[in-house]
Symmetry: C2
Subunit: 163 residues, 2 copies
DNA sequence: CTTGTCACTATGATTATCATAGTTACGATG
DNA sequence: CATCGTAACTATGATAATCATAGTGACAAG
């Protein structure tokens, strides 16, 4: 493609976010990072993206201050990727995407009755459904407040991709 | 690009959303639709996207049931685009993106002190900041509950693009 | 000293994107 | 009645991002 117009200097906040988030690969990598996958190969395998794309996007995310490269061993030198505070704060976006998909993107019965991914409010134990506020205790929900529980179908899919 | 892997049959809800939302043009068009721009030319002008891209993405969004084409006059025949209920339900995603950008994507003073886009809770009049729950009355916030108020800088930028 | 793992980089074919220009249908202006 | 203007597109060609596949470097284990 030709060089796309730069949105990083627009005053519109959605435009600024779109510059980073309007990209399939970025979204999938962030999802995996939130899911706890920190290693390059694990991310590449689960997302199905080629190593070149994963590499490019992780560099981009690092440059944006959303992700940090961290050596987890010295001999041989190996790195893992972690979300920074700025990165963790993107949880609201991914959680909203998940909520929308749970409500609209599945055929009846496709997930076996429940959601593809259940979230439990750690503090009170309630299943929060797709709400932004805990239906049990009324608290606002952020990353860290929630415990994800993938459905059997989702778990099987991920296991298959991990090879 | 080569044909990218299809994510519409993954069990991961973020993956399904990413198939649609992991695209700059889609995000910008949705933003404009939420902002009240319904006409093709208005969207093309404000987003800065070429007519071919706008056309392709509106067709995609229509096919996904997110947008509806609606004739607003007969002679000559003219169409406008409106969000369906499924489309309006994407507000949470765009709102989360806006919140993240307001918190992280601006340099100090760049917006003149306040947010680039203020949101007021219609029911109680509170400025909601970037919260998902009204800080004034505690209600959960959705599209329709909020009244957007662009900062002078953002208003000027949009006026300039409208030509 | 061959095999395996991890984190990448290199290469080449494919195709989406952009900028620009053109089209269709109509109404209004001169 | 011929041109101009507007809205909503479609057509064309150059450019560049993406994918699949293969290869690299550093080390450890067998």
């Amino acid at each position: 493609m030709p060089k796309r117009a730069d949105l990083s200097d627009t005053f519109c906040p959605v435009g600024r976010s779109a510059e980073l988030l309007g990209d399939r690969a970025v979204l999938l990598i962030l999802r995996d990072l939130f899911f706890g996958r920190r290693r390059f190969e694990a991310i590449a395998a689960n997302t199905g993206l080629g190593p070149q794309l994963v590499s490019a996007r992780l560099k981009l995310l690092e440059g944006e201050g959303v992700v940090e490269r961290h050596a987890y061993q010295d001999r041989p030198l190996r790195h893992e990727y972690r979300l920074t505070d700025k990165g963790k704060d993107l949880f609201g976006v991914l959680y909203a995407m998940r909520g929308w998909a749970e409500r609209w993107a599945y055929k009846d019965g496709e997930t076996g009755g429940g959601p593809a991914m259940r979230y439990i409010h750690r503090a009170c134990g309630s299943d929060v459904g797709t709400a932004t506020v805990c239906p049990g205790c009324g608290a606002a929900l952020g990353y860290g407040d929630l415990k994800g529980d993938p459905s059997p179908a989702l778990k099987a899919e991920q296991a298959a991709r991990a090879g």
